[in-house]
């Protein structure tokens, strides 16, 4: 499933578009950055409430397909600027992390 399919189906808000044709291979929920770094599989959709620059850096370095901010968590301007510069996909949803992850899981399996 591509990121754009997810946006279409569930109306996730676009925070930054890097490449919405990218495939989502899995889904991962966590807010501790080193935990995500060490455990999230490559090409995951990552559900978090951590909307800062460091989350963007983790997404880049750990090959995360898309950051999805759960429960409409705030994302700071610096993070958006960095995401734009590094083509990192960021979406936002009012749904809690588990609910959003369950929907994505259903779509990819």
């Amino acid at each position: 499933m591509k990121i754009k399919d997810l946006i279409e189906k569930y109306n996730f808000e676009v925070v930054n578009e890097g490449d919405f044709d990218r495939e989502i291979a899995g889904v991962y929920c966590c807010d501790l950055l080193s935990w995500v770094m060490g455990r999230a599989p490559a090409d995951s959709a990552w559900l978090t409430v951590m909307g800062n620059m460091n989350a963007v850096a983790v997404a880049v370095l750990a090959d995360i397909a898309v950051i999805i901010l759960a429960e409409s968590a705030a994302v700071d301007e610096a993070a958006i600027a960095k995401a734009a510069q590094q083509d990192v996909n960021i979406l936002k949803t009012s749904k809690p992390a588990f609910e959003a992850a369950a929907l994505i899981h259903e779509m990819i399996t």
Partner: protein, 141 residues
């Protein structure tokens, strides 16, 4: 393939720039056509090291040597050093302050991740002098 050496300075106490060296290294490896798995391993190891240097050591340096068989990483700082390396290597152990943890760091996974994602890992630390981490990721033929 000839040997390529890269050097990066990691500024201390600047979370906005943490990850720049790791991103630069990742891009360089991509340009060289190195396998994505190996690149990801190097990126994770260097980012964790970079963050550690920013949080604990007021910055440091990263030296990268790329040859036909491997990517070697040497991370050096002149920070406070690690009194108990065995404890520091334990998953979940952290000395990061609350404000650092609020940023999403301090899960106590930095050093364990560096070891997990590299094929060779060696840490030398002296209290009051600093820390040196040597890591190697082999490139599969």
């Amino acid at each position: 393939m000839s040997v390529l050496q890269l050097h990066y300075d990691v500024p201390g106490d600047d979370f906005t720039r943490a990850g720049e060296a790791s991103s630069a290294i990742k891009n360089k490896l991509k340009q060289m056509g190195i396998a994505p798995d190996a690149i990801r391993n190097v990126a994770i190891a260097t980012y964790e090291g970079e963050i550690n240097m920013v949080i604990h050591a007021n910055g440091g340096t990263i030296d990268v040597t790329i040859d036909a068989d491997s990517v070697s990483l040497v991370l050096r700082d002149t920070g406070a050093g690690i009194p108990d390396v065995e404890l520091a290597m334990r998953e979940g152990y952290t000395t990061a302050k609350e404000e650092i943890r609020a940023l999403g760091f301090g899960a106590g996974m930095g050093l364990p991740n560096m070891k997990k994602y590299t094929d060779e890992f060696e840490l030398k630390s002296e209290v009051g002098k600093g820390t040196e981490v040597r890591m190697k990721v082999f490139l599969k033929k």
